[in-house]
């Protein structure tokens, strides 16, 4: 009755990838699916706007993941999977132009800029310039970043205080963050 096997659900992603490459056992993919399947599906829903298409897309993405992981050296699984997912959605949308035109531009922008919140490391010393950087943002982005991060208000509270729709608030925060990173890393390159 004593446990002899480690609980693989506790393994970090990197360990699961190593074990999967070594054993080719799909149980490791099963754990990764439990960890990220809903996120991949959610991303597909956002761009494809259809439950059935998103179900199919998620299955295809994980089938691709199973094959690609055996031949590729993936360092940051989460970021990689996000890119694989957005890339797949972009291809699907291109196939069914013009309905997906609006989302295509957003996805292309994301993929072109290689944007991912974890890909860009902000040096500690740069944070002292943060206040100056925030001031350079557009007014609505400034407001939302200030209320959400510095005053710790929820999305709905920010929406109530500013009069913007909640959806807009989220967008201002995301775009504001992206711009802040660009401003703070401008001089590094």
């Amino acid at each position: 009755m004593r446990r002899t096997k480690k609980n693989i659900k506790q393994f970090p992603d990197t360990e699961l990838l190593i074990q999967y490459k070594k054993s080719k056992n799909n149980k490791y993919i099963g754990i990764l699916f439990e960890r990220y399947g809903h996120l991949v599906y959610g991303v597909c829903l956002k761009y494809l706007k259809s439950v059935v298409e998103s179900q199919d897309a998620t299955s295809v993405i994980f089938e691709k993941v199973m094959v690609d992981l055996l031949r590729m050296d993936v360092k940051n699984f989460k970021s990689w999977l996000y890119r694989v997912s957005t890339n797949h959605c972009l291809m699907q949308l291109r196939k069914k132009k013009p309905e997906g035109i609006e989302n295509i531009s957003e996805l292309e922008y994301k993929l072109k800029d290689n944007y991912n919140s974890e890909d860009i490391f902000i040096k500690e010393s740069k944070l002292k310039n943060l206040e100056e950087a925030i001031k350079k943002l557009k007014n609505e982005q400034q407001q939302c970043i200030d209320l959400f991060y510095l005053k710790e208000k929820t999305y709905d509270e920010v929406a109530n205080l500013t009069g913007y729709e909640t959806k807009k608030v989220k967008s201002y925060i995301q775009n504001g963050k992206r711009n802040l990173k660009l401003i703070l890393t401008e001089n590094d390159s």
């Binding site: 009755m1 996120l39 991303v43 706007k49 989460k78 996000y82 943060l130 991060y149 510095l150 995301q174």
Partner: protein, 392 residues
């Protein structure tokens, strides 16, 4: 500075449960803010959440997908080389390979981690004519730390001992003196009365499922009540005593006596094992369950299963404990053991609670299948199953 740093803090992936709770709006303002930080901290999280928010039936769609994915996932990934160029060799190899690796191969794969409803496949009946015992592969239980670390379901969702009692059917023993209709009627009166009496003593009143003549369950084995909870009476079957660790705090240790160091104040802990009858031990465990000490009770049921791996009492109450600490996959494994058990005492209850467990796990289509079965069987939980089906 710390709040500013939050802007660029990378967040961990949102779990399905977190997304579900957020979508339902079922959280405090502080929790909501924490989760929104997590959402905003990573574009994967924020895109996914946006997708779910844009489609009301999204979570249901994902649950279906999850079932399909786990159901269709082959155990081993096959490369194109093997699939397309050497398929014939592969078939021959598999045939030979299976012969040699047999059980060893199966043992290496932790099926529970991917597809949890495997208990039916592992059951083997021992055909030894001298014994009716069933040999079953043990379920891989959580260890003490995993149990302690588990986050219980919120109290309103838990199957507390009161709720178990109030939702219990009348279970009578076949061939007992209860065979007469009058006696069954008076037993029904008694059980309903008892439920009302216990409920009247409680501050927060629970919903009571009343027993009637149509839904009395006939157990094929003797039963008794311990701490007002029904158990199968194994008194004549389990005669072997159970060995349990026992701890005792005694006085100052001998080597520290008459010394002025700090250790002189420490108490010595003596550890020894204690032998106890099955019934006495079960009585103690049921008392813990009755007081809703699910984590403690769970560890003790584990001890019972070490000695008596097919004990239906341990499987049933352990499943409820796992349910309450929100380890639904484990709960379902134990409910399946109860459902496949030769003693039918807890069959209806196990099926009903398994449906709840599947629901909690988000396995809605499987939950609906079981609820339909319960409703069609017209047993004790049929009405409740109908109600639940209407609400899903």
């Amino acid at each position: 500075m710390s709040r500013k740093k939050n802007i660029f803090e990378s967040s961990t992936p949102l779990t399905k449960e977190e997304m579900d709770a957020y979508l339902k709006g079922d959280m405090s303002q502080a929790d909501k803010y924490q989760l929104e930080q997590k959402i905003a901290g990573n574009e994967f999280n924020s895109d996914a959440m946006e997708g779910f928010e844009s489609t009301p039936v999204a979570m249901k769609g994902f649950n279906e997908l999850e079932n399909q994915f786990h159901g269709n996932l082959p155990r081993k990934a096959a490369s194109k080389f093997w699939r397309f160029e050497f398929s014939f060799i592969l078939i021959i190899s598999i045939a030979i390979g299976l012969y040699f690796i047999g059980y060893h191969f199966l043992d290496q794969i932790d099926l529970d981690e991917i597809k949890f409803d495997e208990s039916k496949l592992t059951m083997q009946i021992n055909t030894d004519s001298s014994s009716t015992a069933i040999t079953i592969q043990p379920i891989e239980e959580l260890d003490d730390k995993e149990i302690e670390d588990a986050t219980p379901l919120e109290e309103s969702k838990q199957l507390t001992s009161d709720r178990i009692i109030f939702n219990a059917p009348l279970i009578i023993v076949i061939d007992s003196t209860f065979n007469g209709t009058d006696k069954i009627d008076s037993a029904i009166l008694l059980i309903n009365e008892e439920k009302e009496i216990i409920n009247s003593e409680l501050d927060d009143k629970k919903e009571i499922t009343e027993v009637n003549t149509k839904n009395v369950i006939r157990s094929n084995v003797g039963t008794l009540f311990l701490s007002r909870l029904l158990v199968v009476d194994y008194t004549d079957i389990y005669t072997k005593e159970i060995t349990v660790p026992d701890f005792e705090l005694t006085g100052t240790t001998a080597d520290k006596e008459n010394k002025s160091d700090n250790g002189a104040n420490e108490l010595a802990v003596n550890t020894y094992t204690q032998k106890i009858t099955y019934l006495d031990f079960l009585q103690k465990v049921q008392s813990k369950f009755r007081r809703n000490k699910f984590k403690d009770a769970l560890k003790d049921y584990r001890t019972i299963l070490i000695h008596y791996s097919n004990d239906v009492n341990a499987h049933f109450y352990m499943a409820l404990c796992y349910f309450n600490i929100n380890k639904q996959k484990k709960a379902i494994q134990h409910f399946d053991r109860v459902l496949n058990h030769q003693f039918n005492t807890f069959h209806e209850e196990a099926k009903w609670y398994k449906a709840m467990s599947l629901h909690e796990l988000g396995k809605i289509s499987r939950c609906i299948t079981i609820l339909n079965e319960i409703a069609n069987e017209n047993g004790f939980y049929a009405k409740k199953a109908d109600e639940m089906l209407n609400n899903i």
